[in-house]
Symmetry: D2
Subunit: 478 residues, 4 copies
């Protein structure tokens, strides 16, 4: 996949937190920049300055939300949490940008959330019927309401109770005047890692690349069902539940995570390269070269090339200055071939049989455009190889595809897709191939991966989505 | 090279022009975006609407200067020229942003320039002593003064006279109410290509990638000493001089040009890959993997890897959201390892012997940082291989290195440089290797390449720079 | 008073609502601009489009928050409410900008509030102890929580119950999918008027000037204890309480309201002129001219001049381009007399005995500066006449002076103040004079005015402020 | 006149300069803000730092062009000149914003100009035919070309020669590394005053209000034909010509200048008040009150009121937050009476016979709107009194009315105008009345005023405008 357009998948967030550093907010800023690929719609930071919590958040990239030194300087203090957010168009209101900062007469709480709750709708309805008022559209506030309504004695106990009430995929980071808390759902759908800076500050982040960016050394991944409590005494690992079973989102390995991150001990670049290599074994082709779709498929393409012995060529160049722009080619110009973002390298492609490696196909629109670009540039044949199995089922744990109707593979056979995108051949990596290539090796189905988008094997009940999902199955064709 | 920081080389411009299209300014906008890598400090467009010339220009990226449809709509007309500009800090005034638009009682002229004149200072001094007034710091205005002072009859003849008065490196595009003119200096230092859209409009651009972007088919390169005149009758190739000798800037192949561009018939990506392959032959090393410095050295690294049989790994990840930011790590944080922009992939590098391929070394600062990043990430050995010869001499034809003192290879031996950057070994591509790898095959010294930065063999007299250059030689050590 | 600086009084808001117009949001925009003087820190609009509520709000002036047509076009629909907000520095977060928009599973509610609740703190504390979560610092949300916790059957009944629970000064406008509601506290501290456009739409606004701006004809003022319900059947006046006693804020007449507004049937300009005339009778002076402090004291000065027979001169000019600016004179320049905003007209003042008429004195800082300006410009004598009684007591109903310590007249005698400001004489309007000049003629103490700032005679219990107020009395000197 | 819309007159500039102050640029900033009423389209400052000239300029208000401390800090140095500019729509390019900064090999010159040259076109044509290149549309550059082409020995002599070549209205301020120069045309059309700060710095400004703002004491007006040279030795008054005759622009007194400024020893507010008083004598009316059109007619209205014995009422309120806005009432709303900017005070006007005093009528559009506003607000009668004679002829010396066709009084009789604007009666001040009321008392026609807009009696030949003017006379009706 390429193009940040209608047809790509979207992660729902990245979270970052640090406790015990004089420049906590500044480090959070750099950590969020490292996580920017996980969400570009909004960003925010809440800092704890000797027990007083202050926040700043806004729409846009981290560098747009935090433009001036003064904005960081206001956020003084030795602890901070931050968030980058993806939002579907239309609801892009600053109200939904996190971390949320709740002020009560007796305490203040900062809250950042990555994931999606499967029982959010019913919980919200119930809380509203009891007089609860919600201010954002997101499901993040629910946790705070549950905490405040708990009758347990301490904040930590209230939080544990609340974590057992919400279901689905979640990686939470909370900040109070006394402590920072990080919690991961019982399946560990989303990655969450912990590290330590040279000066001893504890850092928690969605991906290890953010630990690296702030110079923190990796300690351990947060595991399913864990609640990590960080305060001036260091960190302490608690469990809000022992009823866990790992089902790490396979799309993190395939597409979302940065190649320099490690998840559950597996390097993302290495995993992608293995997928490419396995794909070469499963679906070889007699061709002149391999071309990866930049940037996400570069690793898989190199794996395919090495395993197949074909040269790996830079056949597609991504324009590195693709800012958002309001100026677009008119329809007429578009037909005349005016384009931006991705350019084929004619000198390399012309007359050649090309294996085009991509990480996945969502709606097929982008893939069709790229095949067409390659053909226009003179490719003799274009063989598309996808380094993951066909995407057929929606995700309810934090990735933005909730309609089966939108997934081309949910409605068409592989050969139909091949025709739609105009490729000379099309093959996908097998499910088994994916599981083996990532090689998590955990004692759980699929070695601990969530494979639901490929085979509908959801590791949890779907709660509020159950009905919608059934309807979706009934409506779709394949 | 990577990091857009103090130590990189800077191109001085990109130019684009189109004649005969109803959406001339819009196509120029897209063309300039394709040339954005040639200059990010300013951009502008001048359009010709039935003989009336209007312009818009500003500081920043093309997408920042043209933010609203209304700005393009003002620039109606069937012809337009555009410019992207690099500027050294301090003189970044909008006065210097091109195209310049001159309005006279009898005519208006738009002027865009890529290059550097070697006799600018003396020409300007002379013109001022005759009452001439200059409004910008750049040397671009000089051509206009020369044209206006010519006593020849037609604009075309005046222009030819002026083109014979200026010396150095220049690719000019001019727009009048009647025609568009493109001219290239007698050595053809800078690339300049011509194409045609499906609808018949003539397009001229610094690189062929801009032709591709606007859907124009390549016709031919503009050759040294040529003046191409484009008007409603089509295009006509004139010569302002026959005293020419090709000396195409080798840094265009090594670093500046986009990999999907072709210069003098040679694809840039292919040339870089050949340089890498030749480097592997000239300077092999017993190692575990090849790592290219993104983005400019990816092609050379893949050439090195293929030729050497070593795997080509994604060992360095470039943060794709590196906006300009005013928020920087403090010195203290920097020492603690907080960094942005480039991240090593620990999982790939740790414990491995790495061949790090880069396109060139200017001051050495960036190279030293990257070697250090790789070592911190656990590389057992780091062998640096540079896919071009040592940069020892300044360029006076349009690249922003005019002081020999700033070039590390102008002052240190290869072994000294190796120690400074902390590499286990360091080798450069030979001059001969470079010339062969690019393989222009023109009937001129170095097959038609300018190799002056490597060996001081300037293809023209240096005029106003002569004295400065001599001093520079005397001061430097090696 | 002049200068929008630290020493001026600040209104807390203006509200506007319209039901039954195809361009409801656009009219709200113009209505808010007419109310801009009541709050410059933030603005927002919530519109009802066939039952779907959407909102837009932001920090800054109305014209800054709504910069583009597109922002209004999103707010389609036949009903809308709006708000302009004053905020004390430091809490200027967009979270506090109104109207608040609450989305529930079963309904959505827009809420705008002008005023200050006296039992907000205790209500909030109670609601939080019951699990309620607040998102802003303002006391506006409280009403929504009370509505949602009411067990009555209809929204209207729930709202009535809530209106009987909150105390202090409030003018609320609410918008639901079915109706618009406007309510005024039992003392009617804040003004609130209703009108009708030619096309039949019902308009409610803080001041009649906003009715005029949108071309609506005045119908009636909303009266203390009333709840007006507007829907597609027209409007209906209900009462949430009959236990009312008018106590209209006298500062609205003295300083806040626009001179072209009418409050309780009294024109604000005419009232100010009467105050000036009465002041001339109570405190005559042998002088050459009257000078009003622009802009708020122009009316009072003209009344004083007419009554005294002295010429009314333009002796002080206000710079009409006083934008907020980050560039300030340095301390040194300030001492050298560099100034902005207000300039004395030397040619008029020099050598003359001046009566300087101002509407009020808060801290005295501004008054001292103006006296000093006039003296520097050559005034022979400066006699200060204040067209209201000394401000001695804080307001708890919606004006931003809550500390007696900050009021110069709360701590100094009139003669001390005269010395501090450097005037040759200083006199204030009497309380009786103020009441007579405004001449509301209502059957209530002070003819229906709230005079608490002058004499501490608060028309209601102070609830949560009681203790603070007692302390404040004990600490102050006079 | 009111509304900053199409129908108002526009000044062409304000200039400011200071020599000998450590914070020269900052004082220039404050001086320009005091002159902001003379031009709102652009602003700039050029500063001299030990002989090095730097500048900053941009489109918009002074406070928009200089937004950050850093922008002023770049402009260090002990001398600076500045400019505020009015520009007709369409040519609002930053290229035309002044001061212009010319850099030559041997010197740099900053140049600011207020006025209009009558022989600009022919001079420019001649200079271009000699190879001269102009970069802006304004006529300001011409002076620089003339200076550079002069063969005299010193800059001062070259400047004197140039000043004798340009004709029309001009007040120039120039800055070189050695001195600041101020020159006024032989008729002194534009005001220009000199003062001194407490610390001894010399200040020159278009109006004395700018001297007051920076704490400078008035020394003298610059007189027609004078060239003042300011350098480290103090100031020296030279003459570039003795062939002078004062003809100060009467519109400065009527409309443009700030009321707190003095021109040729006459206070502007006092002059306006006298015009109003004289108008009351010449054109009395039986009415209930006088209402001035804010802000420019407030002084004249007060003069009329005092002389007539009628009360002076605040019958029209100007919205003080009239920012430029892109959001406008639709045509439909406009017809429904939706309006901004100016509001009638119903409570004051209803049922009353009103004398509406305005300073002038240009096209009549605005005047008609205000009469209509007053009638809608219930005025029984509206008698319009204009405190200046009918505007019938264009100005060629620096005011933006160059077409007689646009002036209502150039094409209609007074009674026709009365009917067009819908007034019950209309009278203008007589020419004699204007001259007497201002009372300059200089030994020149009209006591030293330029009255050409009223009677076509231009004090100089019209040069390039001669033909246009004749045509204009022929085309117009009256």
């Amino acid at each position: 996949m390429t193009f940040s357009d209608e047809s790509s998948l979207n992660e729902e967030c990245g979270v970052f937190g640090i406790w015990g550093h004089r420049e906590a907010a500044r480090l959070t800023y750099f950590g969020l920049r490292a996580l920017q690929h996980r969400g570009q719609e909004g960003a925010g930071i809440v800092a704890n300055n000797h027990g007083v919590l202050k926040g700043h958040r806004g729409l846009g990239l981290v560098s747009q939300v935090f433009k001036q030194e003064a904005q960081l300087e206001r956020l003084r203090g030795e602890a901070a949490i931050g968030h980058v957010r993806y939002a579907t168009a239309g609801t892009s209101s600053v109200d939904n940008v996190q971390p949320l900062l709740f002020r009560f007469a007796d305490e203040s709480v900062g809250l950042a959330h990555n994931g999606n709750l499967t029982n959010a709708y019913s919980l919200r309805k119930k809380l509203e019927s009891q007089g609860g008022i919600f201010h954002s559209d997101s499901d993040t506030e629910i946790l705070m309401h549950l905490i405040r309504r708990s009758h347990r004695d301490t904040f930590e106990e209230q939080l544990k109770e609340a974590l057992n009430t919400v279901h689905g995929g979640f990686a939470y980071i909370l900040l109070t005047k006394d402590a920072m808390y990080a919690a991961l759902d019982p399946n560990g759908f989303r990655p969450l890692a912990m590290g330590k800076t040279a000066s001893g500050a504890i850092v928690i982040a969605s991906e290890t690349c953010a630990l690296d960016t702030v110079g923190a050394e990796f300690i351990r991944d947060i595991k399913p069902g864990e609640l990590v409590v960080v305060n001036d005494d260091g960190y302490r690992v608690e469990h809000f539940t022992w009823d866990t079973q790992p089902a790490i989102c396979s799309m993190e390995f395939i597409y979302f995570a940065r190649p320099d991150s490690n998840i559950a001990g597996v390097n993302v670049h290495a995993a992608r390269k293995s997928m490419g290599a396995r794909l070469a074994e499963e679906a070889p082709v007699d061709a002149d070269m391999v071309i990866g779709v930049p940037n996400s498929s570069i690793s898989a393409a190199s794996g395919y090339a090495e395993a197949s012995g074909l040269p790996n060529e830079l056949g597609l160049v991504k324009n590195q200055y693709v800012a958002r722009t309001f100026i677009q080619p008119t329809q007429e110009l578009r037909e005349q071939g005016v384009r931006m973002k991705l350019s084929p390298v004619r000198g390399v492609i012309a007359g050649k049989r090309v294996v085009m490696v991509d990480d996945s196909i969502v709606r097929g629109t982008t893939c069709r455009r790229i095949v067409s670009l390659l053909k226009e540039a003179g490719a003799a044949e274009v063989h598309v190889r996808i380094a993951s199995p066909p995407l057929k089922y929606p995700c309810f744990y934090g990735i933005d595809i909730q309609k089966r109707e939108e997934l081309i593979a949910g409605n068409h056979t592989v050969d139909e897709i091949r025709q739609i995108i105009g490729a000379d051949s099309l093959e996908y990596l097998s499910e088994e191939g994916l599981v083996d290539a990532i090689g998590l090796g955990l004692d759980a189905p699929y070695q601990g991966l969530c494979m639901a988008y490929f085979n509908g094997d959801y590791p949890t009940p779907l709660y509020d989505y159950e009905e919608e999902y059934r309807k979706s199955l009934a409506n779709s064709a394949v």
